[in-house]
């Protein structure tokens, strides 16, 4: 509780200052609406269900894309680490695709899949798959050979070594790769929702897009606020437990 007091006071005073600046029209309302305006907009869209629907649709897309990325990314990373030939042939390609901002896929995706859910999914997967592959592969490659030797002399071989030594030993890398993949999925999805006009469902990105079209900055800022909230929550709920576990087991937390 105590830890929350100082950041709480800080945020509260920032909001108050902002509110005053906006109410006194020192900053034009068009540029930056007052926090109270944003808040009442959030209340309004919460009340009529728009917010919930849009968040639900966005999260569904995010999870679908992300899970597909993880389901393909981890095994592909393992294969890459196991067969050096794959790494030699595809390594540079994977690296290149990882560095490519996934918005770049939007035109192609629209051409291939049209204004559909698949098109969004494609952009999300292209955004996160590669970093998950790379992290998994790096993790497995950096397992100290001593662990593998020790496992071999204890009679562990082949698949057993993979499941019980290589994968757990690279767990810290895999989790950070998954986390990075999540962040990339999230960014890609927003880019896709803003740029792909799609009729099958109104996500948060589309709400934000229409806010811009209507010059309704309170709508834009409200959605940005919701996006930040979702980002924080998903990080805390999805990854913090694993990271805590890793820090605890490996002794990598600095207290």
């Amino acid at each position: 509780m105590k830890r929350l007091i100082i950041p709480g006071i800080f945020i509260f005073s920032c909001l108050t200052a902002w509110e005053i600046l906006a109410l006194e029209e020192i900053i034009p309302v068009i540029f930056l609406p007052a926090p109270s305006k944003i808040f009442s907009y959030i209340c309004a869209i919460s009340a009529d269900g728009t917010l919930f629907n849009a968040s639900w649709i966005t999260c569904k897309r995010l999870f679908m894309g992300y899970l597909l990325s993880a389901c393909f990314g981890i095994p592909l990373g393992i294969l890459n680490a196991q067969f050096p030939i794959l790494q030699r042939v595809f390594g540079w390609l994977v690296l290149g695709l990882q560095t490519l901002p996934s918005v770049c896929w939007v035109p192609l995706s629209l051409l291939w899949f049209g204004q559909t859910e698949t098109s969004l999914l494609f952009v999300v997967i292209m955004g996160s798959l590669w970093s998950i592959i790379i992290a998994t592969e790096t993790g497995i490659r950096s397992v100290p050979p001593l662990y593998i030797r020790a496992a071999h002399t204890m009679g562990s071989n082949g698949i057993h070594t993979w499941i019980f030594v290589l994968i757990p030993a690279s767990f810290p890398f895999i989790v950070s790769g998954l986390k990075q993949g999540w962040a990339f999925s999230w960014r890609s999805l927003m880019a896709a929702e803003i740029f792909v006009p799609i009729l099958s469902g109104f996500g948060l990105g589309q709400l934000l897009h229409y806010g811009r079209e209507l010059n309704a900055m309170d709508q834009v800022l409200a959605i940005i606020f919701v996006l930040i909230l979702i980002g924080i929550l998903s990080d805390k709920l999805l990854f913090s437990p694993f990271e805590k576990f890793i820090h605890h087991r490996w002794g990598t937390d600095r207290k």
Binding site: A150, H152, T153, G251
Partner: protein, 270 residues
């Protein structure tokens, strides 16, 4: 045909482990370091063999070769008269550096060694693991993470992990270097008891000559660059031996003198 041949060769050659003219070198920059030069030795079933020698003379390399983790460049290594094919769970290594798995707790680590024994039930494995954890005095640390253990506790956990699967051959690389004197003496007697009761063949690397005399049936002295066996001492003292007993002293003095001689010899050369 083959089984008969094998039994004949074991009759002719009753050695549990026989190392025949084994050489091993490592590439270092452009040249090569000859870590082992045509080493031959044989270890009888149930023998406790200690290896002593200056640092860098190839003791760990020899253990790795016997474990099957590396392949010799020249010569061959036979276990029960059969050439070794890679690592196997009949030959367990306790490594010089801690090779405990950081993603498992102490119990998990000890259980890992037992995971490859399908003949044991889950409960049997658990009780065996607990038995050895208690034996090395870590019973209150069963669920401790590896990074929470001290250096000596890590070595004890590693000892429990290597004893639990009850391997026929145990290859130990300076296993007790980080233990305090009292624990160490306790473990000397434990290990002699386990060794006698379970009829294991043990190869034990150490820098402590007294420790070698206390534990070994035979002590081999290595010389560095190239690594070779230069002397062999039989230790015919009654067992169980106590680390502090007076009988040990004269033997270890003899060996220490030889060791000193080797060290001076090599420093004069270079």
């Amino acid at each position: 045909m083959r089984p008969i041949l094998t039994s004949e060769s074991t009759l002719l050659n009753p050695a549990k482990i026989s190392v025949e003219g084994v050489s091993k070198s490592f590439p270092v920059n452009d040249s090569k370091i000859l870590a082992l030069d045509e080493i031959s030795l044989s270890v009888k079933e149930g023998e406790f063999l200690c290896l002593v020698g200056p640092s860098g003379c190839g003791k760990s390399t020899l253990l790795n070769l016997i474990a099957g983790l590396e392949t010799p460049e020249k010569g061959k290594i036979l276990i029960d008269g059969e050439p070794i094919q890679g690592p196997g769970r009949d030959r367990l290594v306790m490594f010089q550096e801690s090779a405990l798995f950081p993603w498992l707790d102490v119990l998990g680590n000890v259980m890992f060694g037992l995971s490859q024994k399908p003949e044991l039930s889950k409960n049997e494995k658990l009780s065996i693991a607990r038995y050895y954890i208690k034996k090395v005095g870590l019973d209150h640390f069963e669920h401790a993470n590896i990074h929470e253990l001290s250096g000596g506790m890590k070595q004890r956990a590693a000892l429990a992990r290597s004893l639990a699967p009850n391997p026929r051959i145990l290859l130990m690389d300076e296993p007790f270097a980080a233990l305090d004197a009292l624990t160490r003496e306790q473990i000397y007697s434990d290990i002699q008891r386990i060794w006698a009761a379970r009829q294991k063949t043990i190869i034990f690397v150490t820098h402590n000559v007294r420790e070698a005399v206390c534990l070994g049936d035979r002590v081999l002295l290595f010389t560095p660059r190239p690594g070779q066996i230069c002397k062999s001492f039989d230790v015919n003292l009654p067992r169980p031996r106590d680390f502090n007993s007076l009988e040990i002293a004269p033997v270890s003095v003899t060996i220490t003198n030889s060791l000193r001689h080797i060290m001076q010899g090599t420093t004069e050369e270079t």
